[in-house]
C-alpha cells in the first residue's frame, strides 16, 4: 500500500495537543527553572544599584529614568532590591529543598530498603517531625536563637525533610518488590550495592520532580515568615519582608509593596510550572 492512500483522520474523541509541542513547551519551562537560578546567582552583576543605600528620590514610580521599577520610601532602587531579594528567596528555597532531599532521602532510602523494625522506627520518627507545626517551630527557633534568615531556614528545614523521607521510602518499597532486586540478591550483590545500584537510581526521577515542585512552596513559606518578621533582618533585601514593610504605602505608592509581591508570585509560578514540565519530560522518557 502506498502512504498516500492513508487519509489522516482523527478517530473518535477530540484530538489533543500533539505530543511534540508539549515536549518543546516542557523544555522551555524547565529552562526557566535554570534561568531563575542564574538570575538569583547573578544578582550582583544584574542589579544596577546598591540594594541597601538610597540612590535617588523617594517613591519614584516605575518607568522613571534610571529606575526601571521605581524607588522605595527611602530612595532605594526597587529593581536592585528585588533582584537581591530573588537571590535571598530562591537560594534559600533551594537550600531547604536540598537539605530535605539529602537528609529525608537518606532516611527514606534506608527505611525502605531495610524494612522491618528499622523501617518502623525511622518512619515513626518521621511521623513525629511531620506532626510538628512548621511555622511554630520556626518561630520557636528564631525566638531562641534570635531573628535572622539562617535561623528561619533551620526552622523550616527541620519540618521539611519528613515529606521527602516518606516519598522516597514509598518509592523504594515499590522498587524493592520488583523482581530485579530479588535477581540482584541472587546474583550475589551486597546490601550496599543493591541500595546504591539497584534502588537509588530508580528514585531519582521522583525525587527531582518532587523537589522542583516544592521550591515554590518554600519560597511562599519563607516570604510568609519574613512578612511576619521572622526572616531577613531589616536593611537586607528579602521579598516577603519588603512587601510587609511597605504595606502602609499600598494606596499611596502601590508599586513599592506590589513589585516584591509579584516577584514572589512569579518565583512560585516558575517553580510549579517547571516542576510539572520536568515530570512530563521524565515520564515521557520512561
Amino acid at each position: 500500500m502506498s502512504d498516500a492512500a492513508v487519509v489522516p483522520r482523527r478517530f473518535g474523541v477530540r484530538s489533543r495537543t500533539p505530543a511534540v509541542h508539549n515536549l518543546t513547551l516542557n523544555r522551555v519551562l524547565v529552562g526557566l527553572l535554570g534561568l531563575v537560578t542564574l538570575v538569583a546567582l547573578g544578582a550582583r552583576l544584574l542589579a544596577p544599584d546598591d540594594p541597601i543605600q538610597p540612590v535617588g528620590d523617594f517613591n519614584l514610580p516605575p518607568g522613571s529614568p534610571g529606575h526601571l521599577l521605581g524607588t522605595d520610601m527611602i530612595g532605594r532602587d526597587l529593581l536592585s532590591r528585588t533582584l537581591w531579594g530573588i537571590q535571598a528567596s530562591w537560594l534559600s528555597a533551594l537550600a531547604v529543598v536540598l537539605v530535605g532531599l539529602l537528609f529525608g532521602g537518606l532516611i527514606g532510602l534506608v527505611a525502605g530498603a531495610a524494612g522491618g523494625w528499622v523501617d518502623n522506627v525511622l518512619m515513626r520518627l518521621t511521623d513525629l517531625f511531620l506532626a510538628l507545626p512548621g511555622v511554630l517551630v520556626a518561630i520557636a527557633i528564631v525566638a531562641a536563637l534570635g531573628p535572622g534568615l539562617v535561623h528561619t531556614l533551620l526552622g523550616i528545614s527541620i519540618v521539611w525533610w519528613p515529606y521527602y523521607a516518606r516519598i522516597i521510602r514509598g518509592e523504594v518499597r515499590a522498587l524493592a518488590a520488583r523482581p530485579h532486586v530479588e535477581a540482584a540478591r541472587l546474583a550475589g550483590a551486597s546490601r550496599l550495592r543493591i541500595l546504591r545500584r539497584h534502588l537509588l537510581p530508580g528514585t531519582v526521577p521522583t525525587a527531582i520532580v518532587t523537589a522542583s515542585l516544592d521550591i515554590g512552596n518554600v519560597v511562599l513559606l519563607l516570604a510568609g515568615l519574613s512578612f511576619i518578621g521572622l526572616g531577613q533582618l531589616a536593611p537586607a533585601p528579602e521579598l516577603g519582608a519588603d512587601t510587609a514593610r511597605a504595606l502602609t504605602q499600598l494606596l499611596a505608592q502601590w508599586w513599592v509593596p506590589v513589585v516584591p509581591g509579584i516577584a514572589v508570585m512569579l518565583l512560585s509560578l516558575v517553580a510549579n510550572l517547571g516542576g510539572d514540565a520536568l515530570r512530563g519530560l521524565l515520564d515521557g522518557r520512561r
Binding site: M1, A5, F11, R178, P179, H180, E182, A183
Partner: protein, 566 residues
Amino acid sequence: MIASVDDLHVSLRGNPVLRGVSLSVRPGEILGLVGESGSGKSVLALTLMGLLPPDAHPQVTGTVEVAGVDMMHGSAAAHRGVRRRELGVIFQDPMTSLNPTMRIGRQITEVTRDTDRAVQLLEHVGVADAAVRLRVYPHELSGGLRQRVMTAIAVAGRPSLIIADEPTTALDVTVQAQVLSLLRDLRDEYGCSVLFITHDLAVAAQITDRIGVLYAGRLAELGPTRELLAHPTHPYTAGLLRSRLSLTTPRGRELPTLPAEAGPRGPGCAYHTRCPLAVDRCATEQPPLVGDEHQRACWRDISDMPDGTSAAEPGELGPAVEGSAVVRLHNIRCDFKLRNGWRRAGTLKALDGVDLEVAPGEAVSIVGESGSGKSTLLRVIAGLIPPTGGTREVTGGTQMVFQDAGSSLTPWLTIGELLRERLLPLKLSRAEQDQRVRDALTKIGLPATVATARPRQLSGGQRQRVALARATIVPPAVLLCDEPTSALDASLAASVLNLIRQLRADLGMAVVFVTHDLAVARLMGDRIVVMTGGHIAETGPADDLVSHPQADYTKTLLAAVPEIAI
C-alpha cells in the same frame, strides 16, 4: 454479516499496525483470530468497537461495519449505541475490566436494569449462589469466577457479537476449559457470534468454527478450523503448527522453532525473512489474500515446504549424574500470615510438607496451577524465602530465571553491568571481565554489542536470553526457572527452551523448571513433580507420568490441556 472490515489499514503513532485486513464475522459463528504479540489482533478488536485510543493518533482507512453501522465515521452517540446494543466484550484480565469499587450486582444491572435477570444470568454462566454473589466485590472472587461474571455482563445486553480478547490467557488450564465450553454454550443459546482472539492455536482449535491467522497486520490465512489445522496452506501457519509444543512432541530432539524476523519490513510479504519457501518475488510483492472458503496470502505452494524437524540435530538431554543430591528438602512448610486490616485473618499454607531431592545435573519440572505453591517452593530452594519448618540443604550455588525478564533486569543498568555484577566476587581484571561478558553473550546467541544496551532496548526474547546469561555466566549447581517462557510467543518460547537445555548440557548443572504447562514440563524435565494446594500430588519420570497418570489431580490436569486433534 454481523461485522465486517474491508481493506482496513490502521496506524498508531505513525506505525502501521493493520495493513489491509478484510474479514467478516458471520451470524452465529465463532471466528478465531490467531497471531503473535504485535500482529494487530487486539487493534482489530478495538477498531470494531470504535475505541482506538485517541492518544495514539490513529489513522484509519478502509471500512468497518458492525450491524450495518459504519464505525469509522458517524457520531459518537451512534457508535455508543452499537456498543450498547450489538457488542459484548470480554477482556483478558477481568480484575482490571471489572470496576473494583462496585458490587457485582450493580455492574450487571447497569446493563439489565433488573435484579432478577442478573441472578438468572449469573446462574446461566455457572456462578453458584447467584443471589448472594450479587453483593460481593470483584476482588472477593477467583479469576475463573470473575471471567464468568465478565461473560455474564457481555451477554446481558443480548449482543449480536461478543468480542473476546484473550479471555482465558490469565486463567489456569482447568478453568480455561470451563470458560471455553461456557462461551460455546452461550453462543448456541443466544445465537450470537463470537470473535475469539488468542495467541494459542490449540485454544482456538477447541472452540472456533473458522480461524484467521494474522501476521504483521495482514491475514496470512483464513479458513474453516478443521481444514486450516489439517491442511495449512501458508508457511507461517504450518510453522506455527510444527513448532507448537504438545504432549507428543519428541523429547530427545531439539525443539522445532521458527527463525526470527530479520531486517526491516519491505514492500513484500512480511514473513519472507523467516519463510523457508521465500523467493525473490516474496520480498518485493505483497501476495493478495485469495480463495473462496479457505483463503491464503502466499506466492508459493506449501507442499514444497521442507520438514523443519529433519534439520534439527538430536539434542543431548543427558542423564542425571550420580552423586549426593544438590538440593535436599525435607518436610518443608511455608506459612504466610494473612492480615485483614489490623486483625490476623489466618494463615495460608503455601507449602505443606514438601519433600524433594534433586541430583546433580538432573532436570526436574514442577507443574501446578496458580496457588499450588510451585513458585514458593522455587524461592525456598533459592533461599529467597525462609521456610517456616522443615530442613533445606542446598550444595553449590543456585541461580534463578524469572517469568518476566523485563522486570528482573534492573532497567537503568546496561546488560554489561548486570552481567559483570555476577563476576565481582571472582576479582577478575577489567579485561578478563569484558571477555567473560562477551563469551556469555555469544553463548546465548546475542552479539557482544548488546553489552552496552539497556534492557528496554531489547525484545522480550532477548531479555530472557540475557537473564539466562546472567544466571549462567558463573555456572550454578542448580538453575531455577520460574515460568521463563510463559510471557513469550510460541516460536520464541521454543528457542529459549532449547537454549536452557543446551546450557544444561554444556555446564552440567541441574535444572528445576516451574511451569503451568504440562507439555513444557514434559519436554524440560526428566522427572515431573505435580503440585497442588502446597503439597506434591504425584511425581514420576516425564513420559510415564504423562502417559500413565496415577493421581486424580494429574488426570484432571491432563484432560484440560488443549490439544489439536486432527
